[in-house]
Symmetry: C2
Subunit: 155 residues, 2 copies
């Protein structure tokens, strides 16, 4: 069963490359033994650097479920998720993730995954993209507005 | 100038909470001294766990530029980006990022940022969301298809 879903994801990834739609990555979201969403990498095709397979699949699955959580779902992705997609997975909170190739395999094929993982472990001041803090006090007002909002929807 | 852009982002974040559109976060993308895109958190409003302010702003900026890169742009975000958004920033490759409140401030207000940063530092097998590897050999075929594609668009 698990292999069948991963086979589907791998087929989608290869088709995505052959059709010139983006990078060699795909993912499917499964619930109760059925695929509820598919995603392929569309970065260059859609001019969207966030359109990784997992992000596309998570967004589509959430639309299908009418929910911002993937409770009880499984994600099958052809490659170990990059930090962006790992973050998205934590926010979507599926039950499990299955992956096939590794971040190292992705890096060997020219993708930045391992580099970004290393960057995220550095303090903000040591990162390649400069991160500069300003106006913290003023920004805390947004959190106060949130805490004071009695009908807020937590996520 | 920097403060003006951050003030705008903070105002958008507060307005987002007051209007019940999502969490207390906003971001703007600036190029050549002008705002080219704005984003606010839309997770609950759009049923999209990836709709963080930075992701929304990056996607909108890329559409405005017709490019999948934010070369030469600056991102002003009301809060230190979560791992998902940091990953997106690395893929979008802006020149600089300005942030106001910290991941710790976000966690104090009930958001998972610090938890996810800690999870990403753990090996896949030790993470809260189980990560299971299968079919690596079969998946490498997608990378081979990519390497063999002479007209591939790298990103």
């Amino acid at each position: 069963m698990q292999n069948r879903f991963m086979e589907k994801a791998i087929a989608l990834a290869i088709e995505n490359v052959r059709r010139g739609r983006g990078g060699p990555f795909a993912a499917v979201v499964v619930r109760d033994g059925a695929i509820i969403a598919e995603g392929t990498n569309r970065v260059t095709f859609s001019n969207d650097p966030t359109a990784h397979a997992e992000i596309v699949a998570i967004r589509e699955a959430c639309q299908a479920l009418g929910n911002f959580q993937l409770t009880g779902c499984e994600i099958y992705t052809t490659c170990e998720p990059c930090p962006m997609c790992m973050g998205a997975i934590y926010w979507a909170r599926p039950a499990k993730v299955f992956y096939a190739s590794t971040a190292k395999d992705a890096s060997a094929a020219g993708f930045d995954d391992s580099f970004i993982y290393k960057q995220l472990k550095l303090p903000a001041t040591a990162r390649r993209i400069p991160m500069i803090q300003l106006m913290r006090e003023e920004a805390l007002e947004a959190f106060r507005a949130w805490e004071q909002k009695s009908d807020r929807i937590e996520y």
